[in-house]
């Protein structure tokens, strides 16, 4: 694995848009270079009814960034007395990361969310110093992101319904991680719709 800090623990996440629904998925591996320590380390965190963040990279920073972000979103909801919107969450996250511009956290981030009233979908990604992206159809982060991007572009169609979206997301993730030794060992997929959120656990190759 070399001494690349971003592949020290491994891991991958993917987010894709559908018609009034978004899917966000990640693998479950926690390892230290070659060795797999656990297969229940999910990288997706929920910050509101319909706002999800996936963080991939160094595991300690995944935990720290998710907790620090939770602190800020809790205070936001207490002060503003209203629920978080995905764009607000995204800006808070990128601000958090840019604060450490010259000694950064080693995580790449994905934000996925939905506006339950209008059905508008949001998928954003960010590098480890908080670069802002547009609202995109498909985003991936992690050690296998290149492989999953290719498959994701292949399976993506505009305006998919939740079932098609789930299929496309899971196939892109499961087949992409087969080419990466630092991710895999199962996956979870959240499909977020206006009225419900479905969490599915996938059992992939355990190698």
């Amino acid at each position: 694995m070399g001494d690349d800090i971003m592949s020290y623990n491994g891991g991958v996440a993917l987010a894709m848009k559908g018609k009034e629904c978004v899917a966000i998925a990640c693998d479950k591996r926690y390892g230290v270079q070659n060795r797999t320590i656990a297969t229940n380390f999910t990288k997706i965190f929920q910050y509101g009814d319909h706002c999800f963040v996936a963080l991939c990279g160094l595991a300690t920073d995944v935990q720290t960034v998710s907790e620090r972000l939770k602190f800020r979103t809790n205070l936001y909801e207490l002060r503003e007395q209203r629920k978080l919107k995905p764009i607000v969450l995204y800006n808070m996250l990128t601000n958090l990361l840019y604060e450490r511009r010259f000694g950064p956290y080693f995580v790449y981030a994905l934000v996925a969310g939905l506006d339950p009233k209008t059905g508008e979908t949001f998928v954003y990604d960010s590098d480890n110093i908080g670069a802002i992206s547009d609202n995109v159809n498909l985003a991936t982060v992690g050690t296998a992101s290149d492989f999953i991007f290719g498959l994701g572009e292949l399976f993506f169609k505009p305006n998919m319904n939740p079932d098609e979206l789930f299929e496309a997301t899971s196939q892109a993730l499961l087949n992409g991680v087969d080419r990466d030794s630092a991710s895999g060992w199962g996956a979870i997929v959240y499909v977020i719709e206006k009225d419900k959120i479905t969490l599915r656990e996938l059992k992939g190759r355990q190698d």
Partner: protein, 242 residues
């Protein structure tokens, strides 16, 4: 103190090695696409003797850094009809060694007019590894059957050692299953017990080691020939779900 690899220092050799290494600037000048890591069969290989032959097995992953180059590699390389070698370490080095030894044994069997002994094959492998011990990264297991001593397993690890063992492991994944071997191996197991032992060992290593993965390829070598068994992902034995 490592008796097998004693510390030596040669100033001229050291300077030569320094010059051939990349300079710090190369990291910036050479584009990312060309900065590949060498291909290695970071791997799990197992070989065990039973009465009448040997059972050998390996996983099927070849990786370059974290990228999996081949998901279904064949690491069981025939040296002769009844002698196989299991390769771990640098893919290029072990393939080159296997090719050279294949030729050497082919020539030898023509000279002697009989199939070569397993010990001879293992010694050919060992000789190459020892001769180029500073350059090669190759840990190999040579296993097979011959008329004189039946089934034999020889281990030829990194420095150029040759030792016969009733059961041996190799590769990066082997570290995770030495305990399994110590607990579960008994002398004089039947052919089926040995087969299950090898398969379970490879499965356990595949689960834990990032550089091992894919499926399990096994072979049973005895006087009647070589029977190859590929156990695909779904058919691997169930192990505790971490």
């Amino acid at each position: 103190m490592d008796i097998l690899n004693p510390m030596t220092y040669d100033a001229e050799e050291d300077r030569l090695r320094e010059r051939t290494k990349y300079s710090q600037m190369d990291k910036h000048l050479i584009p990312m696409e060309f900065q590949q890591q060498p291909v290695s069969t970071g791997t799990t290989i197992v070989a065990v003797e039973y009465d009448g032959g040997v059972i050998i097995g390996a996983d099927t992953r070849t990786s370059s850094g974290t990228f999996v180059m081949n998901r279904f590699t064949d690491k069981l390389t025939p040296l002769t009809d009844r002698i196989f070698c299991l390769r771990s370490g640098s893919a290029a080095d072990t393939q080159a060694i296997a090719q050279v030894v294949q030729y050497q044994l082919d020539f030898l069997s023509a000279e002697m007019n009989e199939p070569p002994l397993v010990r001879i094959a293992a010694n050919c492998v060992r000789r190459l590894i020892y001769q180029y011990r500073d350059d090669f990264v190759a840990g190999m297991i040579v296993a097979g059957w011959d008329k004189k001593l039946g089934g034999q397993v020889y281990s030829c690890p990194l420095g150029g050692l040759l030792v016969r063992q009733p059961v041996t492991l190799g590769g990066s994944g082997s570290t995770y299953i030495w305990g399994y071997l110590d607990n579960n191996y008994r002398p004089n197991m039947t052919k089926q017990e040995c087969f299950d032992f090898v398969l379970k060992g490879i499965t356990l290593a595949i689960t834990r080691d990032g550089s091992s993965g894919g499926c399990a390829r096994l072979a049973i070598i005895n006087k009647d020939g070589v029977e190859r068994v590929d156990v695909l992902g779904n058919d691997l034995p169930k192990v505790f779900d971490l």
